[in-house]
Amino acid sequence: MEETIIRAENIKKWFPIKTGFFSSLFSRREISVRAVDGINLEIRKGEILGLAGESGSGKTTTGRILVRLIEPTSGKIFFKNNDITHLDESGMKPLRQHMQIVFQDPYESLNPRMTVGDIVSEPLKVLGAAKNELEIEKKVYTVLEDAELSPPQEFIFRYPHELSGGQRQRVATARAFVLNPEFVVADEPVSMLDVSIRAEILKLMLSLVQKYQTAFLYITHDLALARHICDRIAIMYLGKIMEQGTNEQIVFEPLHPYTRALIAAVPIPDPSSKRIDVVIKGEIPSPVNPPSGCRFHTRCPSYIGNICREAEPPLLDMGNRHLVTCHLYDSKVKS
């Protein structure tokens, strides 16, 4: 079994909402957005975990917590069995070269006044990961070649505005992989790109993950893409993980009613399967005041009674690392 690179234990992140002066006088209650509300996950070496869910379900926040761009409200994060939850900046700095992130929008995540060479070499300089200029140059050239930005000598002097969207995302990917990290988060890396070039960026990421044996968290709302590139998929809803399993388990044997609804709602690019059935109604509730008990009970088609409204469902292991959070599969409830 491969080594676990990153593990999250019951992490929560509540963002407080600023209330006005008067309401803060009259009400003691603190209001907060429960973006992430108690999730557990682990990613092993060379494994790709897809984190899927509707917008506002807390996917991005989870990704940022795992690379410690945000400190969690509670819970623990382990990087190779070391607790990194409360490390300060100086404690985090040596770890930064092992965990990197690729952002969603390649038009905004690259500094328009830096050349490609500067952008890709900056992490090496900031973290002191290379001994001298020569080594920096060598590493930058290698990673640019890996990112299929070749010939590299032609690209290092270009500015982001001279590149197409796909090339920009390649630069962002090269910047993340130049440090040879052990854990990379990619937050919707292709959603801003044109359909015809999405596949090549994903293929590039896959080949880099394979080459460097990175643990990879792929955040997406597109289940069809997740199915094709991930090893495992976790389905998030309102700050909680509803189901986790291999992509085959999630797509072909979904257990949680929410996963089932999500799978059924994905349009299929095949006209012979004309099918539009929408089993669940309404939209995702506000994370400020999430429903009690199971968060999905307000929309659930297989609601089984008061227990869903009152008790939070436990995390159940259905075998083969297929995890589900639903009362339907709890043997105690059944009996």
């Binding site: 359909v195 999405r198 006209p271 539009i276 929408v278």
Partner: protein, 340 residues
């Protein structure tokens, strides 16, 4: 009654042989945007037609001219956009030749209406939704009284699945999906015969998107609406449309019914686009992409506009533009490879 006779008369006058006429017919439509660096060839020489109660999907990458077609059909292009050539006929009216006030009374909203891209943000945040729809109705049908318009809105809201009493709310009180539904209600307010939905699914979550697509298909059957769905997502088209047109760099490269286009795509671009779409349920296959990126329409490539990215490109593709030919009934394609 008299009005009906007049329309029948003018119809017969135009079609003395009683020839079949589609609801909308677009012939050789060419639209340019003038910019300081020269004209942008956004839409060039496009022809298609739509029958009553037929849904057509218009697919292509961003910047290929999908939205420009929608704007040309309603003649609401921005100041620098101009229809250079072509004819757009809705029934017996030629939209390209009509005057502004005729367009407002006879075409916009009463003939063709448009659900804008990003419908969530297309509503004015400082007016009640009801007032916005009343305004739309009374602009295009000035004789309608305010009370009648409000009654109509209540019926429309029921049809799209929103509680009619919510019409008095402001847009921020609606969720994304409800705003999209309200936009659909607004688009249907004047009983159009053609509805254009520009990217109806983007910015919505999968489940809400499925609800909206289902609503659109239901309305199509119930009101025998003709629909144009503009999207980059082929799976949305395969679920809602009868036929589809694939656009590349301002041109339609392939047009045909959804089934044959998905099963037997002839143009290399269509083939590429279809294989670039992962299918959730199908066997895990390698994703294929089209190398390169779409061209700049200020200076489109010579010959076939797809040749710089095409893996089958030949010498002829660079020099000569392929003709848009009918391969089998209703299936058109513009490629030198086909029919050789």
């Amino acid at each position: 009654m008299l009005k009906a006779y007049i329309t029948l008369y003018s119809y017969l006058k135009q079609n003395p042989e009683g020839k079949h006429m589609p609801l909308l017919e677009v012939k050789n439509l060419t639209t340019y945007y003038s910019t300081r660096r020269g004209p942008v060839h956004a839409v060039e020489n496009i022809s298609f037609s739509i029958e009553k109660a037929e849904a057509m999907g218009l697919a292509g990458e961003s910047g290929c001219g999908k939205t420009t077609i929608a704007l040309s059909l309603l003649r609401i292009l921005p100041w620098n956009g101009k229809i250079v050539e072509g004819r757009i006929s809705l029934g017996d009216k030629d939209i390209t030749k009509m005057k502004e006030d005729e367009l407002r009374k006879e075409i916009r909203w009463t003939g063709i209406s448009l659900i804008f891209q990003g419908a969530m943000n297309a509503l004015n945040p400082v007016y009640r939704i009801e007032d916005q729809i009343v305004e739309a109705i009374r602009t295009h049908e000035p004789h309608v009284k305010k009370r009648e318009a409000k009654e109509r809105i209540a019926k429309l809201f029921e049809m799209v699945g929103i509680e009619p009493s919510r019409a008095k709310n402001y847009p921020h009180e609606f969720s994304g999906g409800m705003r999209q539904r309200a936009m659909i209600a607004m688009a249907l307010a004047c009983n159009p015969s053609l509805l254009i939905a520009d990217e109806p699914g983007t910015a919505l979550d999968v489940i809400v998107q499925a609800q909206v697509l289902k609503l659109i298909s239901e309305l199509k059957n119930r009101l025998s609406l003709s629909i144009i769905v503009i999207t980059h997502d082929l799976s949305i088209i395969s679920e809602t449309c009868d036929k589809m047109a694939i656009m590349y760099a301002g041109k339609i490269v392939e047009l045909g019914d959804v089934m044959s286009l998905f099963k037997k795509p002839l143009h290399p671009y269509t083939q590429g686009l279809i294989s670039a779409f992962p299918n959730l349920k199908a066997k895990k296959q390698e994703m294929i992409s089209i190398p390169g990126s779409p061209p700049n329409l200020l200076n489109p490539p010579s010959g076939c506009r797809f040749h710089p990215r095409c893996s089958h490109a030949m010498d002829g593709c660079v020099k000569k533009e392929p003709a848009f030919v009918e391969i089998s009934p209703g299936h058109y394609v513009a490629c030198h490879l086909v029919g050789r």
